[in-house]
C-alpha cells in the first residue's frame, strides 16, 4: 500500500569505471590538441594521459573544457598543457611537473597537492586554491576565494587580485604573494612560510604577525615578477608566524619513549 516512488538516480554512474581513451586528438609531431566538449571527465583525463605517457607528446591544447570538474589531474611528467576555457572544481590537482595555462577561470580546490611545475590561471580561481601545495609556482591573475593555500607545504602562490577569508590558513611552508586586498583571518594558525600582501588586510588570524623584510624577499619578489611579466612590483607587507602557538619542541608521549 505504500506509495510508489521513482528512484532513478545512480551515483555509481559518476565513476565511469569503463571509460576508454577516446583518441580524438589532432597530433602534429610532439604537439596535440583536442576538443573536450563532448568528452566526460574521465575521457578528458584518459586522453591527456594517453597523449603524454604513451604518445610522448609534450605540448597539449585542450579546447572547451566547459567548466568540467577534476580535469588535468595526476600528471607526473614535464610537459605543457593549455586549457582554452574554464575548469570546474578540483582541477589540476596532484600534478608533478607540467606547465599549465588556463585561459579562463578555475573553480574550488584547483592545484591541490601540486608537487612541482607551473600553473598560470588567466582569470579568477575559487576557494581552496593550491590547498596542501608542496612545490612549484601557481599564478592566478584574477581574484581567489577563501582559504587560498590552506595547509600549504611549499611552492609559491601569486594572486593578481583579491583573496578571501582565512588565506594561508595553517600554512606550513612556502610563499604567497597577493597583489590585492585580503579578507579576515590572514595566516591563521600558520607554522612557517611568508605571506606578502600589497593591498589591505582586513584582519590577521591567530598567531600571524608582521615579519621583517630582507633583501632575499626583495630579490624573490622581483624575480617572480620578472618571470611572469607582472611589471614592477608594488610595496608589500610581509606576514609570518608569531610562533606563540608553536608546540613542535614538545614531543608526544609515544615519541618521548624513543628519545629516552
Amino acid at each position: 500500500m505504500s506509495g510508489t516512488r521513482r528512484t532513478t538516480y545512480d551515483a555509481r554512474g559518476l565513476a565511469e569505471p569503463h571509460a576508454e581513451v577516446p583518441k580524438v586528438s589532432d597530433i602534429d609531431g610532439a604537439t596535440a590538441s583536442f576538443d573536450a566538449t563532448d568528452l566526460t571527465t574521465r575521457q578528458v583525463n584518459l586522453e591527456l594521459r594517453w597523449l603524454i605517457y604513451e604518445q610522448g607528446i609534450r605540448d597539449v591544447t585542450v579546447r572547451n573544457p566547459g567548466a568540467k570538474h577534476s580535469i588535468g589531474v595526476g600528471i607526473l611528467q614535464r610537459c605543457r598543457i593549455r586549457f582554452e576555457g574554464s575548469l570546474g572544481y578540483f582541477g589540476l590537482g596532484l600534478n608533478d611537473g607540467p606547465e599549465i595555462i588556463v585561459t579562463g577561470r578555475v573553480g574550488w580546490s584547483s592545484c591541490e597537492n601540486m608537487m612541482s611545475g607551473v600553473v598560470v590561471i588567466e582569470k579568477n580561481a575559487g576557494s581552496l586554491t593550491g590547498a596542501a601545495m608542496r612545490g612549484g609556482d601557481l599564478l592566478v591573475k584574477g581574484a581567489v576565494g577563501a582559504r587560498t593555500g590552506i595547509d600549504q607545504k611549499g611552492g609559491t602562490i601569486i594572486v593578481g587580485g583579491d583573496a578571501g577569508t582565512m588565506t594561508a590558513f595553517m600554512m606550513q611552508r612556502g610563499r604567497q604573494i597577493i597583489l590585492g586586498d585580503v579578507g579576515p583571518g590572514l595566516g591563521d594558525s600558520m607554522y612557517e612560510g611568508s605571506i606578502y600582501v600589497a593591498g589591505k588586510v582586513k584582519s590577521l588570524g591567530i598567531d600571524c604577525v608582521e615579519g621583517e623584510w630582507t633583501h632575499a624577499d626583495t630579490e624573490m619578489i622581483e624575480r617572480k615578477f620578472r618571470i611572469y611579466g607582472l611589471g614592477s612590483p608594488p610595496a608589500f607587507q610581509k606576514f609570518v608566524c608569531g610562533k606563540m602557538l608553536y608546540n613542535y619542541d614538545n614531543l608526544e608521549p609515544s615519541e618521548k619513549k624513543y628519545v629516552i
Binding site: 570538474h69 573553480g107 575559487g126 579576515p184
Partner: protein, 309 residues
C-alpha cells in the same frame, strides 16, 4: 551537499522554467533526493496558490484518493468562505494543486485557513511566485509539473541531498516565506542554531511546516520584512543572527538576492551581464544556459548581493 541556482532577466521575460531545469539538471550530482523551483511568472491580478494535500511518499492507504478528493473540496469551499473568488483549481499531480483566485484580503488568514484542512500545506502564495517541488531530479519534476515553457523574469531552484530532515516534499526547497506573498528561499548548508531560532520564531507565532533547518531562513526573513526591513537589510541581519554554513538565495516579486556566510564555506559562482544574472553552486549549471566561455566570479564571505529586475 545540495545545489542552488538563481537567474534574473532584467530586460524582459524568458522561459525560466526550461532554463532553471537545465541548470538544476546539470547539478543533479549535488542532490538527487528532490528538486524544487520558485518561479516568477508575469504578475497578475489573481493570487496563485500552490498547495499539496499529501506528500509524495505518504502511504497510499485504502481511502487515500477519497480523502484527497474530500480535502480538495474542503479547500475550495474554504476559499469561498474566506471571500476568495476561485478562478480555477488544477491538479498538477494526485496530491499537488495550483489554484488561481481573486482575493485581496489578509494572506496569513488565507494560508492559515487552508492549512487547517488535514494534510494541506501551502507551498507558495503570491501574484507571481509559484513554488514547485517534488522528489526526483529536475527533469522529472519539470516533466511532472509541465514547467517547460514557464515564462517569467526570475527564478531560483534547488537540488537536495537531504542531511537534516526527511526526503519528502515538506523538506524540499524552496521555502515560501509564510505569510509573505511572493517571497521564497533556497539554501545550501547547515544552520547550527536552528532550534534556538525555531523556538524564538514559534513563540512569535510563526509557523513551520518541516523539520528542515533551511525553513528558518525563509521565516526569519519574513519576520524581519514584516518589521519593515527591506530584503537586503533582512539578509544582512541574517548574517549576524544565523550560525552555521550557508549560501542562500532569496527572491521577491522584483528582486533576487544571495547571501554567503562569514566562513565562505559553501560555493557560489556568479555570472553578471547588463540584462541577465545567473548564479549557481557550480559553473557547469550556468553553462547549461549560457553555452560559451563566460567570465564568472565567486562572491566573498559575508557578502549580500541583490539584483532587481
Amino acid at each position: 551537499m545540495c545545489g542552488i541556482a538563481g537567474i534574473i532577466h532584467r530586460d524582459g521575460s524568458a522561459d525560466v522554467g526550461t532554463e532553471m531545469t537545465r541548470m538544476l539538471q546539470a547539478m543533479k550530482h549535488r542532490g538527487p533526493d528532490s528538486s524544487g523551483y520558485a518561479l516568477f511568472g508575469e504578475p497578475s491580478d489573481l493570487v496563485v496558490i500552490r498547495f499539496k494535500l499529501a506528500d509524495a511518499n505518504d502511504p497510499r492507504d485504502f481511502d487515500f484518493k477519497e480523502r484527497l478528493d474530500r480535502n480538495r473540496q474542503e479547500v475550495e469551499s474554504r476559499l469561498h468562505k474566506i471571500g476568495a473568488s476561485v478562478d480555477r483549481v488544477e491538479s498538477e499531480t494526485e496530491y499537488a494543486y495550483r489554484a488561481t483566485v481573486r482575493y485581496d484580503g489578509d494572506m496569513k488568514a488565507l494560508a492559515d485557513y487552508l492549512e487547517d484542512v488535514p494534510g494541506c500545506e501551502v507551498l507558495s502564495l503570491g501574484h507571481s511566485l509559484e513554488i514547485v517541488k517534488d522528489l526526483g531530479d529536475a527533469q522529472e519534476v519539470s516533466d511532472l509539473y509541465r514547467l517547460g515553457g514557464f515564462t517569467g523574469t526570475h527564478a531560483i531552484g534547488h537540488v537536495r541531498m537531504a542531511t537534516e530532515s526527511d526526503v519528502d516534499i515538506s523538506g524540499a526547497h524552496p521555502y515560501w516565506a509564510y505569510p509573505f506573498s511572493d517571497v521564497a528561499v533556497v539554501h545550501n548548508g547547515q544552520l547550527t542554531n536552528y532550534f534556538q531560532w525555531k523556538r524564538r520564531l514559534e513563540s512569535n507565532g510563526e509557523r513551520f511546516q518541516s523539520e528542515c533547518d533551511s525553513e528558518i531562513i525563509a521565516v526569519y526573513l519574513a519576520e524581519k520584512m514584516s518589521e519593515g526591513d527591506s530584503l537586503e537589510d533582512a539578509m544582512h541581519k541574517s548574517l549576524e543572527d544565523l550560525d552555521g554554513v550557508f549560501t542562500y538565495m532569496a527572491v521577491t516579486k522584483d528582486a533576487l538576492g544571495v547571501a554567503k556566510d562569514e566562513m565562505a564555506a559553501k560555493p557560489l559562482v556568479l555570472y553578471e551581464s547588463d540584462g541577465f544574472v545567473a548564479m549557481a553552486s557550480e559553473e557547469i549549471a550556468i553553462r547549461a544556459v549560457l553555452n560559451r566561455e563566460i567570465e564568472t566570479s565567486d562572491p566573498y564571505e559575508g557578502q549580500v548581493l541583490v539584483w532587481t529586475r
